[in-house]
Amino acid sequence: MTSTEMTIEPTSRLERNASVAFRRLADGEGGVLLHLESGEYHGINEVGCLIWELLDGERTVDQVAASLRDEVEGGPDDLTGEVIVFLDSLRVRDLVR
């Protein structure tokens, strides 16, 4: 199963693709991801930046969501589900593995 085919579960561990450069923009403006192999840029919002910075390959998706809950007020009830949706969008773009 390739990384673009895998299903992300709450117990999955994902890490940032080493071929991706990340730039956090000024406060509140989110960030930019540059996939160095494809040359594609992707913009992510502030919450996306927080998630990106938590993806160290050690934390599970559940743990990422738990850390996020500590930092962001008023998140959705199914935060883990929302995180999975976001991570899936990164995975299909080969930004995480």
């Binding site: 080493a18 991706v20 450069a21 730039r23 930019v32 192999e37 494809s38 040359g39 840029y41």
Partner: protein, 400 residues
């Protein structure tokens, strides 16, 4: 973009032609044509003057950017420059272009290595001075030969600094001599690099034909402040600069400057009046380099006049402006002044570029300054020679 990762180490290619447009774009000449480096290009090229990872560079450069689009443009420029070979990865060799700056091409280094008097003198000085606990800093290591000499003389460690891409070859030379554990090649200008420890002995083989023209004084001053221990020994330790007024044969001057003789000749050839050019020549401070065997044939109008004696450990300014007097030992028209230097490398080793000297090092030419309006000297006359070094090359001027 194949192969680029945030951890990829990139460095600037050796010699680049850069055009800054009126719109602020910066274009870099490559074998494929011009590549746009964008408005941040000069900062990008400056940052990659020393090997840096892509991630560190994007982080450092990011502070220059405005919003997200500006960062996108900057990062795209970095990748574009890497794709075009303006930025090189790791050990990737410089593209095979003709190197036009002198010290990243083989010529000068072949000349120095072939100059047995010069290279042997420096190696002998290091053999005399280096102690087992010494940390040696070799400024302008070139091919690495003096760094190896210092290591073989027993130095605990040698930091060999080289600004040009020749540094990569120096690393290979160090490895080929099995001294990689004690010699570290550092690429960059000595005035910009940092070292993990201060040197106890420095060798700076950066004397030009006009002794100070390779910026020896500001480089040594900077090294004493940032790279060396307060009591570090220096090789050379003292440089003495001499000048001699000479009569250069007219036919030689004719080849170098606008003179009444050659403008008259051209008038007869072309029917054109070019006489006003001689007035322009009179205002020039014209300097050229001549081979010693030619200079030896010119009548010298005095003994060498000591213009400056520079103790490099005590120097506190990179500027030298001195006047010395001499006495003519022969009569003649002084239309030029010749310069040479002596350098004390160690208590037992001194080298001299005196054109009249026996066993003179061969890789240094003789600097000659034309006197715009020749001065008639008679034997016994006193004259003044003014020596100035203020940051470019030195200048010896015969003061009438």
């Amino acid at each position: 973009m194949a192969g680029l990762k945030p951890a990829t180490v990139l460095r600037r290619a050796g010699e680049l032609e850069v055009l800054v447009t009126a719109a602020g774009d910066v274009l870099v000449t490559t074998e494929q044509g011009l590549v746009s480096g964008g408005p941040h290009c000069l900062a990008i090229l400056d940052l990659f003057a020393e090997p840096t990872t892509l991630a560190e560079a994007l982080e450092a450069l990011g502070s220059r950017t405005g919003g997200g689009q500006d960062w996108i443009d900057l990062s795209a420029a970095v990748v574009r420059l890497a794709d075009a070979g303006v930025l090189l990865a790791g050990d990737e060799p410089d593209p095979g272009r003709v190197a036009r700056s002198s010290f990243d091409s083989p010529g000068p280094h072949v000349a120095m290595l072939e100059d047995r008097a010069r290279t042997s003198a420096f190696l002998a000085a290091l053999a005399e001075l280096v102690r087992p606990d010494d940390v040696v800093v070799d400024i302008g290591t070139g091919t690495g030969v003096l760094a190896l000499g210092a290591a073989q003389a027993g130095a605990r460690h040698v930091y060999a600094i080289e600004a040009t891409p020749l540094a990569h070859q120096a690393r290979k030379v160090v490895e080929a001599n099995g001294l990689g554990d004690r010699v570290t090649v550092v690429q960059g200008w000595s005035t910009r690099v940092s070292l993990p420890e201060r040197g106890t002995l420095a060798v700076a083989e950066i004397l030009g034909s006009d002794a100070l023209e390779e910026r020896a004084l500001p480089v040594v001053l900077d090294a004493r402040k940032r790279l060396l221990a307060p009591d570090a020994r220096l090789v050379p330790s003292v440089v003495r600069i001499y000048g001699v007024p000479v009569s250069i044969p007219a036919e030689r001057v004719d080849m170098l400057a606008f003179t009444p003789a050659n403008t008259a000749r051209w008038r007869s050839w072309y029917g054109l009046e070019l006489g006003p050019l001689t007035e322009y020549a009179a205002r020039l401070r014209h300097r050229f380099t001549a081979p010693p065997e030619e200079v030896q044939e010119w009548p010298a109008l005095s003994d060498p006049v000591l213009l400056a004696e520079l103790d490099l450990a005590a120097l506190d300014t990179p500027r030298v402006e001195l006047v010395a007097t001499g006495t003519a030992t022969a009569s003649g028209g002084a239309n030029g002044t010749v310069g040479f230097f002596e350098a004390d490398l160690s208590p037992g080793v001194t080298i001299s570029t005196d054109p009249a000297g026996e066993g003179r090092p061969t890789s240094w030419g003789v600097p000659v300054w034309l006197v715009p309006e020749p001065v008639e000297l008679r034997r016994g006359d006193e004259f003044s020679l003014e020596y100035a070094y203020t940051g470019g090359g030195g200048r010896i001027r015969l003061v009438p």
